[in-house]
Amino acid sequence: MQLLRAIFSHSSGRIGGAIVGLYIIIAILGLLGITPHDPLMQFRVDRLHAPDATYWMGTDLFGRDVASRLMLGISQSFIVAFASVALAAVAGIVLGLAAAWFGGWWDGTIMRFMDVLLAFPAILLALLIIAIVGPGTWTSVMAIAIVYTPIFTRVVRGPALSLKTRDFVDAARTFGSSRNYILTRHLMLNLVAPLTVQVTLALAWGLLTEAGLSFLGLGTQPPASSLGLMLADSRNLMEMAPWLLIFPGIAIMIGILGFNLLGDALRDILDPRTRRSAA
């Protein structure tokens, strides 16, 4: 609650928060099927119909309503982005904490493994994973998550290492607090702020990555829709039916913009450095 209030008193946080909020509402509506038309329904007589009162954003190659598909697409893209970032964050937290806490051999092994993943070209890694498992929503979630795990691991490990030497952790050790207690209450709780920022920004990247994978035909599978898939499908129809590119294009840009603005605002709000200068 306090955080929400802080976001809304921050200039770019307000805009970013509003955009993300709006998109979440759209995504939920899309998921619940509250759309102008059935997003899967092919009105094949109205193929490639320009925007008008019936089809607010026109129709696609199959005569499906673009506005409805856009709503479904936003929910799909958000699911992919949220799920993959959540997975990567969880994996990153576990690995980063383990590396920071145990140090030595554990640290070396975990971080070298992360180096391997980082050094592996990301899109090719995703491509291989998808080719092995077969494409689909959850495969792209997994692929994006694996690509992001090393980043989150680093984001967690750095602060965790410095938290580990903080006085309150030393204090906990003098009481003989258990490892789990220290890890969960002293490290994890304090990692929430930097992670929140990272997660928000990663969500923006998640949307972009989903779009890139869909462009290569590896992301969301038809007839479902995602922002990236809509963009990818529009490319050969760009001249015949520009609305197929314009609406999802604007939607993805504004969506990413929203997450970026929100991330920046959260960084300002949660980062003690900027808080100090604001005080």
């Binding site: 092919q42 094949r44 599978q221 038809p222």
Partner: protein, 507 residues
């Protein structure tokens, strides 16, 4: 302010100049044809390569004994003439005495013998070998004669010999083991360089026995994105281009300086059912699917109408009016009835596989079919696969249904024996054994009289459409786009680019 404006102006001019220079530096050579395609050859061994993208390159470099013209009639290539013996068990070719390989050597019967022996040698790994297993031995009685002795009469084999997989290569190169690394054929063009997935440089072969080539050479660029090909055509960077995606092709005529030519091809779009899987084991279910699909609607939507609904036989000589085939007029009521008869009035769920981008319309076809089948309660799950994964899955027969674009042949037997005869190589993919189909295929194989063959295959087609192991949809077009100053290209239903030998680039 004024100064910074000037600066901005200067940089934008420089930028425009850089872009302009990029297009202007290489003037359009009147003699060399600049060409683009999106899919490149995958290899140079004419006997091994089966990908269409490889064959259409190799057809410019290598020659078979005979080739097909635009009407799919067999015409001379390396062979001046040929004839079957009375019993149909010997096939004799007379070679063109002028034919020379690009290394200067004459094309001799020994080269022909060596080439076919190479195809037949299992160690070569030539997939086309299956077409030539009737060959028992090859004789070379004189300087220009080659005699194939067959174990059984095999009419379709002559058609198979028109393919580049039966190309004649120099025996010396076979010896040296350089087939596939150096392209030395007897065809109209020499391959000067090949950088896979990037470009080919071809130059006209002045010694080509088939006539004179009108251009000095062909520079082929690989532009993987077809919208980029269109952009390159528009800006006159390319004279001639191959286009796969009908969505892109339909934009070409909008441009005044461009011409689009399209030719119906033999390859057919098909929804393959797997009759070994429940409930496609039921003929009624398969027929219901056939009745539920509106082929014209799929065509209109996925290909923007660019094609023609077809039955199993796509070659003009054998093609019939598809309207006469089983349920080619959509009949949802009948479909529902058939489903009910088979005990599936509530429908069922199945997965359909399709390859990503191959053909470019695969995903769209799958989606329209999905939507049409939903009307009779069949819930389709679409699984898009990377091409190789798809091929692997397809070859294992590991699918409920598959959206496919299968290659066609000029001869119905060559086209279908692999699927619909009992010992067909891909019988395990078709998964459908039918005595009628098998016996009709065998009849067609040995019959040398065209009219009788046509009758046999018409029966075959009607039966195949009725038992509906697959749902044949339509054939599309092969598209070439060219600048208006490019003249003389003759397209062919096989998709060959051999017509480039007649092309000239005007001013």
């Amino acid at each position: 302010m004024g100064q910074s404006l000037m600066k901005k102006f200067a940089t934008s001019v420089a930028f425009a100049a850089a872009l302009g220079a990029a297009t202007a530096v290489v003037p359009a050579s009147a003699e060399t044809l600049r060409m683009a395609w999106s899919q490149d050859a995958t290899g140079l061994d004419p006997h091994k390569q089966t990908a269409f993208s490889s064959l259409r390159l190799l057809e410019l470099v290598y020659e078979p004994l005979v080739r097909l013209n635009a009407d799919l009639e067999i015409i001379p290539a390396l062979a001046e003439s040929w004839e079957f013996s009375e019993d149909g068990k010997t096939l004799t070719f007379k070679l063109d005495a002028d034919a020379k390989f690009q290394n200067g050597e004459k094309v001799t019967p020994a080269d022909v013998k060596a080439s076919f022996e190479r195809v037949l040698d299992e160690a070569t790994g030539a997939a086309a070998r299956a077409n030539f297993t009737s060959i028992e031995s090859i004789d070379t009685p004189d300087e220009t004669t080659v005699v194939f002795n067959l174990s059984q009469p095999d009419v379709p084999m002559l058609t198979a010999m028109t393919g580049i997989n039966a190309a004649v290569v120099p025996a010396s190169e076979i010896e040296a083991g350089t087939i596939g690394t150096k392209a030395i054929g007897s065809g109209p063009f020499k391959l000067d360089s090949w950088e896979p997935n990037q470009k080919e440089v071809l130059s006209a072969n002045p010694d080509w026995a088939g006539g004179e080539v009108k251009v000095d050479g062909i520079d082929i660029s690989v532009l993987p994105d077809e919208t980029a090909i269109l952009a390159a055509l528009r800006t006159k960077q390319v004279d001639f281009a191959l286009i796969n995606d009908p969505l892109v092709a339909t934009l070409v005529p909008n441009e005044a300086s461009l011409e689009l030519s399209r030719t119906p091809v033999l390859a057919y779009h098909v929804l393959q059912l797997n009759p070994s899987r429940e409930p496609m084991t039921e003929q009624a279910v398969r027929q219901a699917i056939s009745c539920a699909i509106d082929r014209q609607d799929v065509l209109d939507t996925a290909l923007l109408g660019e094609g023609a609904v077809t039955g199993p036989l796509t070659m003009p000589a054998y093609r019939s009016d598809p309207g006469a085939l089983f349920c080619y007029e959509r009949d949802v009521e009948k479909a529902k009835q058939l489903m009910a008869d088979a005990g599936y009035e509530d429908g069922f769920s199945a997965t359909v596989i399709a390859a990503t981008g191959e053909p470019p319309t695969a995903a769209a076809e799958a989606q329209v079919i999905q939507s049409q089948l939903a009307e009779i309660g069949i819930k389709l799950d679409i699984k898009m696969m990377e091409l190789n994964v798809y091929v692997d899955t397809w070859l294992k027969g590991d699918f409920d249904m598959a959206v496919a674009l299968n290659g066609g042949r000029a001869d119905p037997y060559s086209m279908y024996n692999r699927y619909w005869t009992k010992d067909g190589n891909l019988q395990h993919v078709a998964n459908y054994i039918d005595d009628t189909l098998d016996s009709l295929m065998q009849e067609g194989r040995v019959e040398t009289d065209f009219d009788k063959r046509k009758e046999i295959f018409a029966k075959f087609e009607t039966h195949l459409a009725e038992v509906s192991p697959w749902i044949w949809l339509y054939t599309g077009y092969t598209y070439t786009a060219q600048q208006k100053n490019v003249k003389g290209f003759v397209p062919s239903p096989t998709g060959t680019l051999f017509g480039l030998t007649e092309v000239s680039v005007g001013e």
